[in-house]
């Protein structure tokens, strides 16, 4: 038998053109040649199969799979290495006809997983920063373009971490807008450099980010947004203008790439404008009878296509919703500014329990426009703009004597206290409308867009069906602004995010069976450093 390596060496020599097959074989004795030749010829025959049409995929299959790959949404997944160097991730998700997106965090999370997640994300961010320093620093990553894969992937990872850390959908919208602005800056640089390929890439990324922003905006629901459609549309309109300017000076090849981004921005702008015009309640702030908070918005949203974003400038004072609005008690990430407008299901208390817990009403979070018992809501007392406008809500002190939660088992709980929340829902019985006599705190927003203030709300009337207490934390969490650079990157505006800290106890009764459920918990802003009591 010939040595194992002889066949390999002979094949290698033949491939390298060191001689014909016959010439190579003649170097060996007859016995070796007799054994080697059929194997060499067989090997060369097998190589013909490289172009065997019988084992090629059909054109239809190739096209279909390619289309799937181009549309596939791939979820971020933990790194899994089974053998140290081979990625092996059998599970995947394909969502047809959907742009790639980062799956938002679920709205409801328990406190500890959330904290662990934040810890992990913080660690990841720290590791990323260390890695960034190793390759030239975070600033280098920040200034990178996609033609610098390492730095740019670091940059994208940092953005992803920011999105992961976002505690609310509003904050996520702001981040997406910020990222879109970053992509636009990169697009501008790619245009200046005449890099057509980069411009195409960045146009695509820009479009995706804008779509993600609008998706996030819509996911949150118009009544819960601290950022209104108008504001986002204004932001996008500004970018449309920038893109148009950019297109004028761009080389021909890049112009086509810019046209993609421009088309996407105009489409988003158009959608938002239509959406906003169909929801005028977001632009106006008529006080509603059932509201316990009256918002005075002195700076209406900018007319479209205004390029001015009307989100507040950074303010050291807390945002309006940080001191006045608490609903959705199981969300540790903070309250959503206008959720109070949606009457709660048939529960009482200062936290609005999820309907699936009370079991008799549709979730207010999914049907923000519906009142109790499915009735059409009264005019929304506070438009989302009240939280968007430049303002600062003064900390609302706890209502004396009214914060004590009712005993959980009490079928006729004590009056719910809503020391900070303008919403009537905590104290509303099922199917009832809130008493119009409730005196709301007043958020006043100066015409100059300065700090807004909120006055305390008197305790809602006892509805006799539930109880609960809500106490703002001693130190209201200041609103954490999100800076959103405009297309030129030299202006920063602030989109508010709300991270209030509240302690609350709520008891509510299911009318159907008289079972009373009591929940005690705390809403803690993730970056407050305060946790569950």
């Amino acid at each position: 038998m010939i040595p194992d390596d002889l066949l390999a060496r002979s094949l290698e020599e033949f491939r390298q053109g060191k001689g014909s097959l016959e010439a190579i074989l003649t170097r060996f004795p007859y016995d070796t040649r007799v054994e080697l030749e059929p194997l060499l010829r067989l090997a060369l025959q097998v190589e013909r199969l490289r172009d065997d049409t019988e084992t090629a995929p059909s054109d239809a299959f190739r096209a279909s799979l390619r289309s799937q790959l181009m549309r596939a949404t791939v979820e971020a997944e933990p790194v899994v290495y089974r053998n140290g160097h081979t990625p092996h991730a059998p599970e995947f998700e394909v969502v047809p006809a959907a742009p790639a997106q980062i799956t938002p965090m679920p709205a409801r999370r328990t406190l500890f997983p959330r904290r662990w997640q934040q810890l992990a994300a913080s660690f990841a961010a720290g590791a990323l920063m260390v890695a960034g320093a190793g390759v030239g620093g975070a600033q280098a990553a920040k200034d990178s373009l996609p033609d610098q894969p390492l730095l740019y992937s670091l940059k994208l990872a940092q953005e992803k971490v920011q999105l992961t850390l976002a505690s609310s959908e509003d904050e996520r919208v702001g981040l997406y807008l910020q990222i879109a602005g970053t992509r636009l800056q990169e697009l501008s640089r790619a245009t200046d450099a005449g890099k057509t390929d980069l411009a195409y890439q960045l146009s695509q990324k820009y479009s995706q980010t804008l779509n993600q922003a609008t998706s996030s905006l819509q996911n949150n629901g118009p009544q819960k947004n601290a950022i209104s459609n108008t504001e986002v549309a204004g932001f996008v309109a500004q970018q449309v203008t920038s893109l148009q300017d950019l297109q004028k000076k761009a080389p021909d090849g890049v112009k086509e790439a810019l046209a993609l981004a421009l088309s996407a921005a105009q489409g988003v702008h158009s959608d938002l404008t239509v959406s906003e015009s169909s929801a005028p309640g977001q632009q106006v702030a008529p006080p509603a009878p059932q509201a316990t908070t009256t918002a005075v918005v002195s700076d209406p949203p900018p007319p479209m296509p205004s390029a001015t974003i009307t989100v507040p400038e950074p303010s050291p004072a807390p945002g309006p919703s940080s001191g006045i609005n608490v609903t959705g008690g199981t969300e540790p990430g903070g309250s959503i500014p206008n959720r109070e407008q949606a009457p709660p299901p048939s529960t009482s208390g200062s936290l609005s329990p999820a309907p699936d817990k009370s079991g008799d009403q549709p979730p207010s979070s999914t049907a923000p426009d519906k009142g109790l018992s499915g009735a059409e809501p009264a005019p929304q007392p506070i438009p989302p703009r009240s939280a968007d406008t430049p303002n600062t809500a003064a900390p609302v002190p706890a209502q004396s004597g009214s914060d004590a939660p009712a005993p959980p088992a009490d079928p006729t709980p004590a009056p719910a206290e809503t020391s900070a929340s303008p919403e009537p829902e905590p104290s509303e019985p099922s199917g009832a409308t809130p008493p119009p006599s409730d005196k709301p705190p007043v958020i006043s927003v100066p015409p100059d867009g300065g700090a807004a203030t909120a006055s305390p709300t008197p305790p809602p009337a006892d509805d006799g069906k539930g109880s609960g207490g809500l106490t703002p934390a001693p130190t209201p969490t200041p609103s954490k602004g999100l800076t959103t650079p405009d297309s030129s990157g030299d202006k920063h505006r602030v989109l508010p995010s709300v991270r209030p800290a509240y302690e609350a106890e709520v008891g509510f009764q299911q009318p159907s069976n008289g079972v009373t459920i009591s929940i005690t918990g705390a809403l803690v802003a993730p970056d407050d450093g305060r946790g569950m009591p």
């Binding site: 010939i2 007799v34 084992t55 090629a56 053998n83 059998p90 790639a100 894969p149």
Partner: protein
């Protein structure tokens, strides 16, 4: 068809750029890599399962897995196709693990081929169908080396990386695989 023999340091510069772009999230670049390598990946998978229906399913999963993992891809000095074929191999392993009905094709009957006229055999030219069917009858490690080496056109070092063996072992398996293939083909000729 683009050249299959790209050495470890001989990756086409265009391909390297596409890979970098795909790693940074450029889906179009990933599409270009798909256009370039889809046939090779499919053919590789086909020779694992021997039929188009399963090959299509597996090839689709291989590419989806590749898309999912592309962000973690790191240039390790090997052609991108090596990474893809590694995913394909893992996918096929999972496929058979799930089925749990893999039958050994290490048929003793295939080795009873002594006594043939070797010189006559040396000039025998097999058609593609004969070769294909014979390859599919090889035992797994033999088939893997034959496919990786002669059909996928990988270097020994790359095959060794995929199979987690050293290059010498790969050469030995290659030699034995060709001997086995030849015997399978001879048995077919006898049967005719």
């Amino acid at each position: 068809m683009k050249s299959l023999e790209k050495g470890r340091s001989g990756e086409d510069p265009d391909i390297s750029v596409w890979v970098e772009q795909a790693v940074s999230g450029d889906r179009e670049a990933f599409g270009k890599l798909y256009d370039l390598y889809s046939e090779r990946v499919y053919r590789h998978v086909y020779y694992k399962v021997g039929n188009h229906a399963e090959a299509e399913d597996l090839a689709a999963q291989v590419w989806m897995n590749a898309l999912r993992a592309i962000g973690r891809y790191k240039q390790m000095g090997r052609p991108f196709i090596v990474w893809l074929l590694s995913i394909a191999n893992n996918q096929v392993i999972d496929h058979y693990r799930a089925q749990k009905d893999r039958t050994s094709i290490d048929d003793p009957g295939l080795w009873l081929s002594d006594g043939l006229d070797l010189e006559q055999e040396a000039i025998r030219d097999y058609n593609n169908t004969e070769l294909r069917e014979a390859i599919l009858q090889l035992r797994p490690d033999h088939r893997k080396v034959v496919v990786l080496r002669f059909i996928d056109g990988l270097e020994y070092a790359d095959i060794a990386a995929i199979m987690q063996k050293n290059e010498g072992a790969v050469r030995v398996i290659q030699h034995r695989a060709l001997l086995a293939l030849r015997k399978v083909l001879q048995a077919k000729v006898r049967a005719q």
